[in-house]
Amino acid sequence: MSLAVCVAVATSLVLFGENLGVQITGFSTGGLTVGFSAIFSRFLFIVVLLSCVAGVLVVYFLMSAATSDRTRDIGIMKAVGCLTDAVFKHFASELLVLVFAGCLTGSLVGICLYYVSTGVMNFMGFHLSIGSFNVQMVLLIFSLFVGFSFVLGLRLTARAARVKPAEALTQVSDVAAVQQSNFKLPFLFGKSLTALIVFRTLRRRWSMTVRSITCLGAVMVLMTVIVVGGIVSEETMLSYVQRAVGTNVVLVAKAEMAERYESLLERFLQSNQSGSFDYLDAEYAIPSSIITEIQGISGVVKVDPRLVLEGTIKENQYIYPDPDNPGQYVVVGNQRQGNVVVVGVHAGNLVSDWLLQGEKISDEDLDSVLMGDSLAATCFADPFTQSFRAFNHEFHTVGVCLDPLNNGMVVYVPIEGLSSVVNCSGYNVILVQVDPLNRPRALVEIENAVSGLGLVVVDLDQTLNKQANFMNQIWASILSLSLLSFLSAVTSLVGFLTLSVSGQQRDLGIMRALGAKPGIILKVVVFQTFLLVLCGALFGLPVGMAVVLTFLIPEPVVSQNAVVVIALLISGLIAALCLASFYPGRKAARTPIVPAVSRV
């Protein structure tokens, strides 16, 4: 049953994640730069990988607990004359049937769970496809779990089959009485009998305790990655978008040019094909005098005039002598070419601060280029060593940025360099950053200043909000994965507790026979769970954080709000895990005393 639940959760998680992944790919054909897509893909990959690791650990733990439960049976078989080989074969056959039945049931339930969860998500307003599922993926998970479970089970069975009959019958190895004798209750708990029983029980079943903490720790790592990783990734990506577009920024340009610029920004959200556009048409030129005038307006923080163009760039191959094969050369690049947006800027006036790698462009180096992440990833093998040609001129890349403009297919060049190669000076777009406190008045003054020149003022914060909503929608879909991983955590915990309580049933029964009320039994089980969850969390949370910060988001942006949300969510999940122990606790408190104390 427990194996089936683990397989079901892993199957549904992978199918559901894959469905979300497909959906993200669907988004990314219209939008999402390569850099942003990479974060989503990395997140999904880590979540699925951790889910499988946690699933296998849960299965191993449950099987070892089940084998320990059968040690007495093995002892009896050996005591009446069964050879070790015969005992091993008996239990191996039993294991094979159980593993196949469990995994098959789990796969079927997992597929149903996948359809149910997808349906629920769609009911909640998302648009996930309810088509056929990936059969190969289901078979892969089935094989993975059957293989691991059977191999681990055989290992455990082989070890159990070698136990001496006397030891197996008395279960001396399980009691570990010697370990208990020196144990003292931590000072914090005073002389609490409940605490004493709980600590002693955990120590008595030491190997099981360690395994369950490992198992819970793995599940906690998974939960931390999903909760912390999800929230931190979302915040970091939003921060990149904000820094790229700029906050409190308005666009000043001719109406058609402004529309075109917005359309380039919206390519991040959806694929939009637009016709050819003559950026250098004198109609769109902005007189330099207006820049000075805008700079003089009170409340204007920064003025970033730009010359925006579209053009074709061609990757230059980089050839260097092969250090391993003297006389041979290594060729980097494939002479690819593509249409990109080229933006001429004054490096010192940029409203964007969105550098991902390398360094900023400089007005002194007129051929230096800052490249959008999608362009760097799709048109270059190594953008920093390769140069490229555009407008019959050679440029070299000094930095890569995460930029939603033209969905990352963009280069930023010092405007003087660009003007000279395209033989056109001046600007066709001005980005103006205003002080949020003086925003309304500054906007009115800017509008007044530019209206006589036929220029329009467009608030880019609205575009920014659209992009933020878009990112939120995707992350909300992804974070729904946490529901399934949480199910996996609760399943493993309840599985452990059911087995653990079943192993303690006799002691709990004796306690009740002596007059312990059901509340005391419940307290023992819940406190035991709390300690295990706490240990699992102490191990899982830091490891999960390390995974997030090392593999997922090396340079995170975390707001205070996010820290509070993360803390609340993690506390809530831990509390929910502890609450899950009420089920086996209540069950133990209600089991009839006589069969409980008669249990051997």
Partner: protein
């Protein structure tokens, strides 16, 4: 002055369902035990002796019939009341000792006293006295798995006396013991005679000789009263 009834059972029936088969453990048992009486119950295996003891001790409920223990109708009460009732009124010595495996001998003795809410000092004192009574002073900090069968039985005996119960129920208290340990247990039982109401399930003739009355059970019924 007439003695009060410590236990009054009438038409007690108990049925178990084992794998779909209904087994009748008690088939209409009538029984009265007076306060301070020492009763021995004997009979062949499967006669229903332990089941009767479990019902008197409030560990199990009859399928039908009436059972009054110290004036309480145990059928009517819920688990919370029965827990308190067992803790304060009943001392139960199980056939298989049933010591809590994670507690030492002394902690096992102290457990019912903790449940009854005694203060630490009193618990400590009483535990030491009981350990001395059963000759386990030197084994106080040993766990059940580190004690011999006889030592475990004596620890269980001491625990049954911990809360100074009005009724002592013992299921084969000398059944698994060697001669010497058995004699020690019998000595303790002798000491309890007239002080407590004692119901002992046993085949041990030495214990039977202590009894005021002996009930013989067979096939779920009391077949003779001696």
């Amino acid at each position: 002055m007439a003695k009060e009834k410590a236990v009054a059972a009438s038409s007690l029936r108990k049925e178990y369902s084992i794998g779909g088969t209904v087994v009748e453990a008690l088939k209409g048992v009538d029984l009265t035990v007076l306060t301070g009486e020492f009763i021995v119950v004997r009979g062949p295996s499967g006669a229903g002796k332990t089941t009767l003891l479990n019902i008197i001790g409030g560990l199990d409920k009859p399928s039908s019939g009436e059972i009054l223990v110290l004036g309480h109708d145990l059928v009517k009460y819920d688990e919370y009341f029965l827990a308190t009732f067992r803790c304060t009124n009943i001392g139960y010595i199980f056939q298989s000792y049933n010591l809590i495996s994670t507690l030492t001998a002394k902690e096992n003795l102290a457990f019912p006293m903790h449940l009854a809410g005694w203060d630490e000092e009193k618990i400590e004192q009483k535990s030491d006295d009981l350990l001395k009574l059963v000759g386990l002073t030197g084994r106080a900090d040993h766990f059940p798995s580190q004690l011999s069968g006889g030592e475990q039985q004596r620890a269980a005996f001491a625990r049954a006396l911990a809360n100074d119960p009005l009724i002592l129920l013992a299921d084969e208290p000398t059944g698994n013991l060697d001669l010497d340990t058995g004699l020690k247990v019998i000595d303790i039982l002798k000491g309890l005679k007239r002080k407590k109401t004692v119901v002992v399930v046993t085949h041990d003739e030495r214990v039977q000789r202590l009894a005021d009355r002996t009930l013989v059970m067979s096939d779920g019924k009391v077949v003779s009263k001696e």
